[in-house]
Symmetry: none
Subunit: 207 residues, 4 copies
DNA sequence: CATGAATGAGCCTTCATTCAT
DNA sequence: GATGAATGAAGGCTCATTCAT
């Protein structure tokens, strides 16, 4: 799936990158507080450090900002994951590390993840599939790790189970972000990681 | 936490109930399609079968509609659960049934659940805590079941683990609603229930 | 060619008619001064005696106002002509009267005619053909009179000449409106009518 | 009436002339398609082959472009007329030739004439009188020819009739441009010239 | 109680114009 | 001289809310 390019009036690629960085940063902080729909383009411009006119030199429609934000967040999450995680190892510790690291990334980028999580649905039909696809790529990372473990007979799972388990890891990671109003009262991040890892891997049934 | 009452200009309680039912039904179908912010009050009125003027006889602000909708959905989900599930039994089959039944309710009310799930955040500071509290009550239902199982030594979990596990059940149930774009390609509802139950209870580690 | 209906949100047909009359009157006076593009919707609303919100209860787009204005002006001109002129008589005096009367109508509605004349081109592809068609209907009125004269052997013209002559009358009438900056310095309306009639009918060549 | 000079920041007169030629050419083609108001300065710059910054080195306001365009078109029309027509001859064939030639010029420059015709009214109070004056000069050309004919007793007209007839020629020439949507269906240019000449000179009354 | 016309704050977006490089 | 990024006033339009009937 090819990247959806948001056209800018400004030619200088360097500048476009810089301004969009300002924009994304400003927008995330606003979306976090008030959500996409409640945030006005003027607020985005001001938070980005330039005028409304300038904002529209770098996007065409308000929705482009949201797309840019979502796009960026996923890239950020994935970059961090890819830098830290070896998906090919295929042992239990590798899996645990991946889960722990993913949970930590979510924690670190909790505002960003929350924003994307809550606002992505406001993307139009043009952008949504692309963002959803990025999500699947993240899930696929976990699938890959799991598959390698199964290959190595660390545990035994059907393909269906692998995919579902990968989704579970992904969603339970996000959960730390989108349910922090409940979870932070009960756990530290480390506790959360430890407990979730345990529950995920061992289940609850005494055997 | 006491119920937040939405004041109506109309006095006849019977009528208020009837009109609000129309309203909630109309609003859900609209929110489902276009989200809360994209839906206008006029559309809500029309979908409810009365005029914009009448709509405002039964609410004060547009947000009240959202609150009413969220409130109703939770009641619906909880009513169904309470009708079907005995939370005091405390054996493994009871837990499995509760999970299965909850998942089925989510499936049945998937549009409603999705709406609430995606739009609840648009509630103002006045209503949000109340809705969040309802969510915790649902989670508490699972906590209660789990706690009874632990009491009965069906399995052994710390209080922290109980709470987290309950959250996991709750969120993984919702996941069937909010990630159906991905999950329905891979599983039927029955498969989903069976696999999730297995993964949740047994984990993945070969022991 | 069917009338292009401009949809209104307001249901009461009586009210729609009344409000649109206010609107057309206000808009003409503004378009006269500043032209369509230089006139803002807010100005139109104010000149019509209601708010911007109300304006948009009776039109969908700014261009609708222009269409309504053009439509009205043509109806006005034609109504007046049809009330006063008998197109079936077919004698020279009848033709002269028609020309004179048309010129007087243009003079009376000179602001309106000027507006329509200058701004009609701003109509979109949807409305323009309809307005152009109305213009042709006016021309056709003169064609009809001329044709009757030819039938009565008042003078002899080919069909091509009839049509062109009708266009000439029409445009030379409008000319009194759109070139008044030059013509009013030289002629009164009566003089203009007399002279144009003479030139049109007799030409200039001494025979 | 002295020429209204549009000030340029650039000193080099040669360059100013060259750039403005590019500008006028680009602008006419745009105004033709979309009208003055719908055309943006950026589009004019692009169509002229230089940047928006450069455009403003050669004009002060967008309206200057329109003035320059109108000014140029009139010069163009008049130059062509003056090159071909001898206004002093004073016989019937000279008049016929002048009319025919004028109509041909209008046909050749029909886009330009249409633009000027439709957009001139958008000129501000500063420029409009000047352009209107140019128009009168064109009319005066016909007056002059007519006056010479009257002097030569080719036909007999009062001064008032001369002026009106000159206006008629001028407007009926333009009519070929601004009513081509109707006229081209009925006549070729040659037919139009022939018929109009006949109607203008001979009138329609059988004598 | 029901209706729907009226309101106007406020939103997104455009674009003429400027000015530092 | 040329460029094009930056600006912000202003425009078209929407929609939550009110209130007279």
């Amino acid at each position: 799936m090819k990247k959806r390019e948001v056209p800018a009036s400004v030619k200088d690629e360097r500048l476009v990158k810089k301004r969009r960085n300002q924009m994304i940063k400003g927008a995330i902080s606003l979306f976090k507080q008030k959500g996409f729909h409640q945030t006005t383009t003027r607020e985005i411009a001001r938070a980005s450090g330039f005028s409304i006119g300038t904002l529209y030199e770098y996007i065409r429609k308000k929705e482009d900002v949201l797309y840019l934000v979502c796009d960026r967040i996923y890239d950020e999450v994935r970059d961090r994951m890819e830098q830290a995680i070896d998906t090919t190892q295929g042992d239990l510790d590798g899996l645990k590390l991946a889960i722990a690291y993913y949970f930590r990334v979510v924690d670190e980028l909790q505002d960003e993840v929350l924003v994307m999580y809550q606002e992505a649905k406001s993307l139009g039909k043009e952008s949504l599939p692309y963002v959803l696809n990025k999500e699947l790529q993240m899930v696929a990372m976990f699938e890959h790790i799991l598959r390698r473990c199964v290959d190595n007979r660390v545990f035994s799972l059907t393909e269906q189970e692998i995919q579902l388990f990968a989704h579970n890891i992904f969603v339970l990671g996000q959960m730390w972000g989108f349910r922090r109003w409940a979870l932070k009262k009960m756990y530290t991040l480390d506790e959360y990681i430890e407990l979730q890892t345990k529950l995920l891997l061992e289940g609850i049934i005494k055997r």
